[in-house]
Assembly symmetry: C2
């Protein structure tokens, strides 16, 4: 997606007629706003794109609110876009064709904690931190952690994952059931609280990762896990990125059930140290966490220490207390902001490829080499245990040449990942940014199947239009 | 699904015109047959249904063969049904609207073993035992084990699981990528070998479990796992079914990573002893298997022994050698046939509900009570660690009253499972048997969404028609 494509997308503006705005005001009163400041707040996310804001915002308090807003918009074939906390990195929330933003952040009730089944059902606006607060007393936790304190609805819609996915899976594996508002404003349920099912098409997994284009997710039922008896976290520095990556590959190939296995390069450590007032050693580093019984954690640590030592890893530095662990992971989560703040006024163009684990060294090291040669500033973090890493190219948003350089690097990186059997997006989604990459990855036949599904479920293209699929 | 519905489904026969049969013969020669014995062999499965056989059989040797057969059939809007080994329990393979059976059992090549990535890609006709033979030397294995030596294509199409799912997940979690022939005879690919992805709609998971109604799966890429360092298997008898079930519930709630946790009732043990010449104690029994490092297995065993003892479990009896383990699990896998053979000439009507683990006792024990009161002979086996169990009501297929009794029991059992937050099918699929149950479970809105997808991808309804959805 380059600037001219974006402009082209925005040409297809659909302006809500006064009758629709009046009907929304009548139905929603104080929960409805056309104030510019509110619209602008709902017209941006963490991506590097800038487009006009939505025409209005509805603050939904209930599934019924969402359904009614969609029904009204559908009467006039006006777009609707659900908004949680605005943490998308790929422009998912941007009203490229105009329309109504449906803010679901007030739908933040934890509906039922079924500790005895290791499940919980929440409204879509509940955030992952809020969820973990709510279930803390049960001795259970929800592991999926994309960094941002995103909503469960947004995490479902983008098939999010993050640092714990290497052990606990992604939203794909952890969502059991959904309540969804369709393009017709109907309320449906998919899945049940049973752990597995062969009952009909897997609508749950079709909707997870559909980025708001097939329905608006209003309730989410997810799996919970017993809090591990023992948790240990450590950092280990390496002489080179290659050594850190090779250690990771061996950990995964041996089947060590490591809970987190994150890579940061020297550059990023420097940014993180500055941002979070830490003094981590400035070299390639793995941040790791181990979960299990005390004996199992000990076993995992011994194996990983031996593997790291073979790759010239330094001694482990342990984060022994929950507070130290929190500090470490907060620093990791803030790497994105540390990167952004290292160059005031910049925006990040973020990559998100994921490759089969044996291809990780090639995918990552060649991309680093190209970034170095480009002269652009960048950061590098990775959920490397999954074969997933992010480079953030820090560009001056007003510099066409820097944007072009970054997009060129991204294209090369994606093409390399696809050649190695990987995917253009491990966890951020397609949004406005990876439409061409998706076509290259999936092929015209699979894209035609996706489009046929979209057309069947949303014939007027009102659900978050302009995302996932390139303009024909 | 009762007998009169089945007759109704079969009214909609679509007879292939002579021109299609001639074109298939010209294209496939020796790979094409209209011989009655061949058709009959492809017109039955392990279900209790009996319908006329397909009009012809194509033996596909390649994806191109499948695509060409589908293209020819599509020209005449004649149904196509893929056939692997015929182990469906729900009538998936039956040509209720006539048409062409595409036998894919000769597409049995293991295409690429990527041991360093823990993945393997196979043609759809490869069976799970063949797959495990092929990867044995790599130190990896494929855990999904539905009992029957089913094909990977069939297992994908029904979202199969089985004894190891409690630890390793189902086909839903273990299929990474597919090659699929669409209703138009086009060949598409879904997914990649990357462990996770947020790139577009999850077509892989939509097709997994679609029972041949959205496409014919021709290649499957699945995850592999390192063979566990230590494996221990044991049986434990209980004074009552309730004790065995309650032990299971506690094992799962504590998060013990048990690899297999199977229940058999006294009745079934008797049948199994007779069929497999064993002398297992004739009482409610858990068959368990533990995988991990020696220390981890020891830990798991200690916890489970303590839990079982609290529920009046007998001492564990260990299967210490691989041969003893194989004997035990073969006996378990043969429980279905042991049941069938216990009443010569009978057919089994099999139930397949799966409920949240805390509801398992209620779901299972009440169903057993009803079965006892009915006077029908039955067997009871369960992947109880997943909340999934099967009752097999053994009926004289010519006795309308026995069939009606069995279906009545099944209906009550399903309704109970749905009331408890569960699903009508844990792993066998809907097929011809659970259409009404699926509607009750998913609701009209979700069924409408499934139908819209089916209509969009297969507008002429040639892909395994008459399955999943009840007649309108």
């Amino acid at each position: 997606m380059n600037a001219s494509n974006l402009a082209q997308l925005c040409i297809q503006q659909r302006v809500p007629p006064a009758a629709l705005l009046a009907a929304l005001l009548a139905r929603f009163g104080q929960q409805f706003s056309t104030a510019l400041v509110v619209r602008e707040q709902h017209g941006r996310d963490e991506s590097a794109f800038s487009v006009p804001p939505p025409a209005a915002v509805v603050f939904a308090h209930s599934t019924r609110d969402v359904a009614d807003a969609v029904k009204l918009a559908a009467q006039y074939t006006i777009p609707v876009i659900a908004f949680g906390v605005g943490s998308s990195l790929e422009g998912h929330l941007l009203a490229v064709q105009g329309g109504i933003s449906i803010d679901v952040s007030r739908m933040n009730e934890v509906l039922s904690i079924n500790a005895e089944d290791l499940t919980v059902t929440v409204q879509c606006g509940v955030t992952r931190k809020q969820l973990n607060e709510a279930v803390k007393s049960t001795g259970l936790f929800f592991p999926i952690d994309p960094g941002a304190d995103a909503t469960l609805g947004g995490m479902s819609a983008t098939r999010a994952s993050g640092t714990n996915a290497v052990r606990y899976g992604t939203m794909r594996e952890n969502v059991l059931a959904l309540e969804v508002v369709t393009a017709q404003g109907e309320i449906i349920r998919t899945g049940t609280r049973a752990k597995k099912s062969s009952a009909g098409y897997d609508l749950t997994r079709l909707l997870v990762g559909s980025e708001g284009t097939l329905g608006i997710i209003t309730e989410v039922t997810v799996k919970l896990y017993p809090l591990p008896e023992a948790v240990m976290a450590a950092t280990c520095s390496f002489a080179s990125l290659a050594d850190a990556v090779n250690t990771t590959i061996l950990i995964i190939q041996l089947g060590v059930p490591i809970a987190r296995c994150e890579l940061l390069d020297a550059n990023t450590i420097r940014m993180v140290n500055q941002h979070s007032r830490l003094s981590l050693r400035e070299g390639a580093m793995l941040l790791m966490e181990f979960h299990g019984s005390p004996a199992s954690v000990r076993e995992q640590v011994e194996i990983v220490q031996a593997l790291a030592a073979d790759q010239q890893g330094e001694a482990f530095e342990w984060a022994n207390t929950p507070e130290e662990r929190t500090r470490l992971w907060t620093a990791r989560h803030n790497a994105y902001f540390a990167g952004i703040q290292s160059r005031p006024g910049c925006k990040a163009i973020t990559t998100d490829t994921c490759v089969p684990i044996s291809q990780l060294a090639e995918a990552l090291l060649d991309s680093v080499l190209e970034a170095e040669q480009s002269g652009l500033t960048y950061f590098l973090v990775g959920h490397v245990g999954d074969g997933n890493f992010h480079m953030g190219y820090l560009i001056d948003p007003d510099s066409a040449s820097e944007r072009a350089s970054a997009e060129q690097l991204n294209s090369q990186l994606v093409q390399r990942a696809l050649d190695l059997g990987g995917t253009c997006s491990g966890e951020h989604g397609v949004g406005l940014h990876k439409m061409d990459f998706l076509l290259a990855e999936a092929g015209a036949g699979a894209i035609a199947m996706m489009r046929a599904i979209k057309q069947a479920l949303d014939p007027d293209n009102i659900l978050n239009p302009g995302k996932i699929f390139a303009i024909e």
